[in-house]
Each structure stands twice: as C-alpha cells, then as structure tokens.
Amino acid sequence: MRYSAFRIFREGLTGNKGWKPVWREPDPKPEYDIVIVGGGGHGLATAYYLAKEFGMRNIAVLEKGWIGSGNIGRNTTIIRSNYLLPGNEPFYEFSLRLWEGLEQDFNYNAMVSQRSILNLIHTDAQRDAFVRRGNAMILAGADAELADADQLRAELPFLDFDNARFPIKGGLYQRRGGTVRHDAVAWGYARGADSRGVDIIQNCEVTGFDIENGRCTGVQTSRGAIRARKVAVCVAGSSSRVMEKAGMRLPIESHVLQAFVTEGLKPVIPGVITFGAGHFYVSQSDKGGLVFGGDLDGYNSYAQRGNLPVVEDVAEGGMAIMPMIGRARLLRSWGGIMDMSMDGSPFIDKTGIDGLYFNGGWCYGGFKATPASGFCYAHLLARDEPHPTATQMRLDRFISGNLIDEKGMGNQPNLH
C-alpha cells in the first residue's frame, strides 16, 4: 500500500478502516538464502538493501522481541558525518547521503531533518583539532563550516557567552547533520523489506548456530531450526552474548548509555548542539521535547539503565552552556546497551567461520550509520567483498595495528 496525502484523505472519509498491517507476521520457513539475526535498524536495513539493491528475496530477519526494540528504539536520533579518520569519514558520508533520499526511497516519513549539528569550541587547541577534522570532512566530500563566537552569538543568543567557565570560542557546523524520527526508520525499512518478500519474524530468539567443520549452515531458534546459506549477525548491544554461541570472542565491551527527554516545549533549539568542555549534546524533537545525552555510565552493563552521577553530569553540562533550560523538566530517562569496541569504531566483516558474518561494535554511533551499515553489510553478504567505504572495518585490525581511533583513547572502550 502506497502512502500519500491522498490516501490519508480517502481513509479519513471512510473511518480509517482501510489501513493494512505495515508488515506481515509470517512463520519461519525451514530454509533461507540469508538469515539476518537481529531485527533492529541495521538488520532491517540490511534486509531492505539486499532485496532492493542486490535483488535477493529469500531472506529472513529474526528478532528476539519486537522489531526496533534495540538501540534504534532508544537513541538520541542524531545523524551526521563529522568524522576525522579515513577509515570512518567516507562511510558516514555515504550514510548521510542515503539518509537524504531515504523517505522517498522507502515511502515512509522518517522525518529526516537536516537542521545542522554544531560542535562547540572552547580552546585554541580544540579549534586546531576541529579545523583538521573539518578539512578531512570536506576532503571526503562532506560539508563543514567553521563559525566564530560572534556568529554563534547572533545565531544562538541563548548560549552562555558571558558567564561561562569555559568560554565559547566558536564551533564546527555540519549543516547537513540533524535528526531523524528513530522508530520510523525501523518501521520504514521493515515495511520496505516486507513488501519485497523478506520474512520479518518477531519473538524468535536465536539460541545457537549450526556450525559443521568450520561452516555455518543455519541457526537454532526459539521457533525451531532454520537453515541458511549465510547467517548475518547484527545485534549490536548483544554481540558478545550472541557470538559466544558461535564460540567467538570479540574486541567489544557492553556499556550502558543513558539518554534523556524533557517535557514538550514550544521551539527553543534549532539544531543539534554539543558541548566541547563537558558531556552534553541536545536537540529538540518535532513533538517539542529536548532530547539530550552525554557520557557512558562507564562500567560494563547489560541492565539497560544507568545511575545518578551521569544524569547529574549531563544536566551540569546543559546548564553550563544554556542556563535557560533550568526550568525545563526531565521527563524520562532510559539506557541503551552499547557495543563499545576497543578503538571506538565498528566492524562489518566476515568471521573465521564460513557463512557467518558479523556487524557490530557501533559504540554510540550506530543510529546515524543505519543506512550505510545496512547497505555495506548487504554488499558484503551479496558480493563477499567489503563495500569501498567500509574496507577498514575489519575484525583483525587490532592484530595488524590498523586502528580507527577517532578519540585517541586507546584500548579503553568506555573512553570512546
């Protein structure tokens, strides 16, 4: 069913009785060409692009709970491609370009809103680092713009320019950055994949992998065994737990990242703003809530909840740069489990086991990567070679020494 204003009008006149389910609820078939483990954003996107771009149809997406119940359903909805390193920047710029045509592509309004992202600069050394980054972005075909304090004062008068502990000296803009309605991304990809014949199977937990002499031939699930030519794991947040069933140890730790939203407010903040001398980033949703976050809690956790010190640290960062939000109220906080990799960058790679593929280690950058991650994973699955923008996202880079460490924090996951 194609969505349009006309369809809404027609349905409105007939009591909205004609709307059809956005996806089927099929039972699993005994065998598929490709079984994707994980019905989150990346898994659904992978299925969508496999079907749409690589002409594959016999695909199943297995989801333990309800689709979109992972980090696509619990993030701060930011999209951007303001990365530094050649192992990352072209990939994220590819992702941003996919975002730019996404809604028309899958006929679903995910509210891709390129309202800009701004990284505030507080010291000269920070400016030099952001100039290097901005230039790296432009060299990779992305957009970047350096703003000085006067320009920011004019554009964002509510920032604390006069009484700040760490004065704002400028900022690096990416105007094409912004936000997206996160749940809608999962639903749009699911709808697009389903309509192309992909079986999306909810409440189907993978309990094991069938591995015979070094080759993966299928999965055991809570709804029975499913054979597959290729098994594609895509379960960021649970990667270690799932790959353990295949006997693999990963350079990944699971950490909780809290996110927050305030009560609905009339428009206050135009784009995405991030603090450069503390942990705070914020945007405003179309519904009016200020959506914000900060640092990881910092300890390994699968609990999907955090603790008070980080809540306070984030609020302190917010009040430090925009003291006008003091009377806005925190409405809800939640925690997502991040696949924190050892250098802060992800993996899209084959594994040591034939037919078993791995996508994960997204840290807290996974949402913005959703389209490119799906596209590049689909490319790897269909062609058995990495997509040109994802050639460095390999599992063996720690033994070779080809690290992709954006923050320069080393093998310390909770600092990335």
Binding site: S240, R241, R249, L250, P251, I252, E253, S254, G298, Y299, N300, S301, Y302, A303, N307, P309, M342, F398, I399, N411, Q412, P413, N414
Partner: protein
C-alpha cells in the same frame, strides 16, 4: 552504586574510576614466543559476560587503591570486593 571497600567501607562508586576486566592484571610475558598474539588478546579480547564480572575499579577520590570487584552486569549486584594488589600477588605476579 555503592562499592564496599575492604579497608574503608561502603563508598559511592562516583569516587572510583572504572577500568574493566580483572584479567588486565595477567599481563603476558614480553619474551614469549607468541608475545604479540598474547598481548593482542590481553589488550583487546576481554571478558564481557552478561552476569558476574570480575573488574578493576580505582579509588581515585579515596585511598588510591585498585580493587577487584565482582559485579553482575545484568543486575549491578556486587558480591565481592578485594584489593587488587592482593589478587595480583595471589595470581603470582612476579616482582
């Protein structure tokens, strides 16, 4: 979170800095044949269980001691806390 320090009693985890898997105590032998592989595994392949986890915390805003805390990563329940130096010795760290 509250960490029950073996010497100082219950303290807010905010006084501590988290490092990770207590296996970071078991630093490999730099002269081993496969030292490179061993150091790779040591530095990059850490335990990440959904359940009890032995992990290193540093009491930076306290007595500067490193602790080995056994904490369940699904409930955050802490069942054991030891001085890391004692653990290191018991694991036969030379010198």
């Amino acid at each position: 979170m509250i960490i029950n320090h073996p010497l100082l009693g219950p303290r807010d985890a905010a006084e501590f800095i988290y490092l990770g898997d207590a296996a970071l105590i078991d630093r490999p032998d730099w002269q081993a044949e496969d030292a490179m592989q061993q150091f790779h595994d040591y530095a990059y392949l850490r335990d990440n269980p959904a359940g009890p986890h032995r992990e290193l915390w540093y009491h930076e805003q306290g007595d500067r001691s490193w602790l080995v805390v056994t904490r369940d990563t699904t409930t955050h329940e802490i069942t054991d806390v030891q001085m890391a130096r004692d653990v290191a010795r018991s694991r036969g760290r030379d010198k």
